[in-house]
């Protein structure tokens, strides 16, 4: 058992650091100039990353990938997170659709879509959830009816990140209403410029507008945009959910949040003491650090499984559940540590960390809902890991 990187990996890391030193600074300078469209700047940054060879690390070279080793992937996610570099804007395309197409797409689909996912030329959003199908995703109602060499899609999707700016959308639709509910679902790729699509921003509880709702009204999607088999979409979607739930990159962002809290607690005064001088604040921060370390070493165990080619499987839900809880504990701890000033809004006298603690808190509340609620994760662990009987019928 060791956590050492090979000398080659360490060289790779050095190169990446040097690269970031130049390119990240340049990107930040451009972004700060102010007269650039932030979406365009984000696309440009993604293109830079892609051209540098720091995207699609696990993807085949023929589709623009790097075929890098897992340890190199770890190095990249560590260094990008530590440098504070923004994530590529097309994250959803890269982390969800890309692996799906590599596994289940036709050769034409791979060649057509994968390179443009990586270089940011085509931004993707995900059309899975519906107003009536949240935790019970398989009960989705959006219908696609075959009409010659097209599907005609009608229905509504919600909680779509990036829906306002995406060029394409990958969709789950019901193609056989008579089958068992998981059996009649197909996986489609849809150009967002197709007539009949209406997108409306949804404002979230924290006040931001990360989400959209999308309405499909007789939207015609060519049959060649079907991924995998007709009515085989549920299993395809499912196979990438586990990937999404594992991984180390979340740990580093949690670590950054915790460091922010730690710094705050040494700089904030509570009477004649600093916040961190209180026994209970120390206990709380220590507990958060312990949990962060536990999540980190769990991540290393998952990674070792991946290196050994063992699939993450339902155990990935352990990490997802624990990470979202930990994020919320950190978010809540911010209020405890900030004391009386926790309620002060940003851009106000005495506001703390320019409202960042509050933003962190509201963000954290979304983690136990999006991508499968914590209750669904508990179900999965109970059923698939512990082998307990199911708590409900489908």
């Amino acid at each position: 058992m060791d956590l050492k990187f090979s000398p080659q990996d360490e060289q790779y890391r050095e190169r990446l650091r040097a690269w970031l030193d130049v390119n990240l600074k340049q990107h930040q300078a451009v972004s700060k100039a102010g007269d650039v469209d932030p979406v365009q700047a984000a696309r440009d940054w993604q293109k830079t990353l892609c051209e540098g060879g720091y995207l699609g690390l696990s993807w085949p070279r023929e589709y623009g990938g790097q075929e890098a080793s897992l340890t190199q992937q770890v190095v990249v996610s560590e260094e990008l997170a530590r440098s504070g570099a923004p994530a590529p804007i097309n994250t959803i395309g890269i982390s969800i659709l890309g692996p799906t197409l590599i596994q289940h797409g036709s050769e034409e689909q791979k060649q057509r879509y994968l390179p443009k996912i990586l270089n940011g030329e085509e931004l993707w959003c995900q059309g899975f959830s519906e107003p009536g199908a949240g935790s019970d995703l398989a009960s989705l109602q959006t219908r696609a009816i075959e009409d010659g060499d097209h599907f005609v899609v009608n229905g509504q999707k919600v909680w779509t990140s990036l829906g306002m700016i995406a060029d394409w959308c990958f969709l789950l639709v019901r193609t056989n209403p008579d089958a068992l509910k998981r059996e009649g679902i197909s996986y489609l790729l849809c150009n967002m410029k197709t007539p009949g699509i209406t997108v409306r921003p949804l404002r979230n509880a924290g006040g931001g507008s990360h989400f959209c709702e999308m309405f499909f009204d007789d939207v015609r999607i060519p049959r060649e945009n079907l991924v995998g088999e007709l009515n085989g979409g549920w299993r395809i979607a499912r196979s990438t959910l586990d990937n999404e739930r594992s991984g180390l990159s979340g740990v580093i962002s949690i670590e950054n949040n915790l460091d922010r809290l730690l710094n705050l607690s040494t700089s904030l005064n509570r009477g004649k003491e600093r916040a961190i001088d209180s026994d209970s604040v120390q206990q709380q921060l220590a507990q958060l650090w312990i949990e962060k370390e536990g999540l980190k070493y769990l991540g290393f165990r998952n990674l070792s499984d991946q290196i050994a080619n063992r699939p993450p499987g339902p155990a990935a839900s352990v990490g997802k559940l624990f990470a979202s809880r930990l994020r919320q504990k950190i978010g809540k701890a911010g209020f405890d540590i900030a004391g009386p000033l926790a309620q002060v809004g940003k851009k106000s006298p005495h506001s703390i960390a320019r409202g960042r603690l509050q933003a962190m808190y509201f963000d954290s509340l979304g983690y136990s809902i999006g991508g499968g609620t914590s209750e669904i994760m508990q179900n999965i662990i109970a059923e698939k890991v512990l082998g307990l009987p199911r708590s409900y019928e489908d």
């Binding site: 949804l202 000033l341 309620q343």
Partner: protein
Amino acid sequence: MHFELSEEQNAIYDLVVGFMADKWSGDNRRQGLDSYPCQIPGELLREIADLGFYGISLDEKSGGGGEPLLTSALIAEAAGGSLFPSIMNTTLAAAKALDLCDADSNWLAKVISGQQTVAIAIEEPNGCWGLDSIELTPQMDGQGGYLSGSKILVSDGDFAQVFLVAALLPDGPAFIRVNANAEGVEINSMRRLDGQSIVELEMKDVRFEQDDVLGDGATLNQVYDIWTLLIAADLLGNAQSVLRMTTDYAKERQQFARPIGSFQAVAHRLADIQVDVEIGRSLLYGACLALEEESDEATALVSAAKAWMNDLGVKAAETGLQLHGGIGYTWELDIHLHLRQARSNAVTLGDSKYHRARVASHLMSPEY
């Protein structure tokens, strides 16, 4: 022995709930988030004043309604559950404060009738709560003195014409009356997380006269306890509303071909909040009675109620948000308004840790 609400109290509670349901909604509060501070139509404020809420727990000879303190707490509870702003609590507390300080009856009448808003300024920028942390000390002369320093987190300071500023005088703590438009006063909005009005009050050589000094250490303690209890009541009402909303949603919302409220993961968490609400209600009644009867345990019970309600308010709103799923995480649903209000009130006049520490000193006191 009878430990339950009177018919009048039940009627007043229902009245406030119904009144607010007609006149106030989450949209009013969303406005306060988009363009601080949350505004209340003048007519609505007048109606509230006319209903006699503000003075309801004052003696009839002070122009009040002669009801016990609990009646004010019930109004605060109903207002909190309706997302009605803090001006209700602030004014209930201010009226009590003026009465306890034997303020001029005309002044008190102005406040009760809603013609003047009085804000109470206690906290200072030292990271602490409570009267023990007040450091503001005026320069005294024969006829009065000068105040210099700052107060923060002053509720409804954007609307107040007058501030009761808690300060350390030679004989101990007291309130000093400071007019909002007095020379040397600067008021800076602090934009509470829930869009409500809190301000920083900067004072530079602000002149006050001897008769601007009101109350003493004991009065200030009473005011602090009463106001704390009103905010605890607000938190209780908030939790009760979230519980009701979420229970209703859990009965309606179908997933896996069943209402989600039939899943124990949902049902048991709502049951736990029901338990906590009942305990909170019991603590609120107990603390009101103890304050009324001037029991030795009154302060400890007020802190018990506030500590409990802080945790309850936040837990209920966070749970409600989670159990609503994606819809709970939207701007349009009122849950985040309840959460913002709970989070803000939970650090107003003392967080749970502060109030548990007050309880602990009671437990360690020789009288216990």
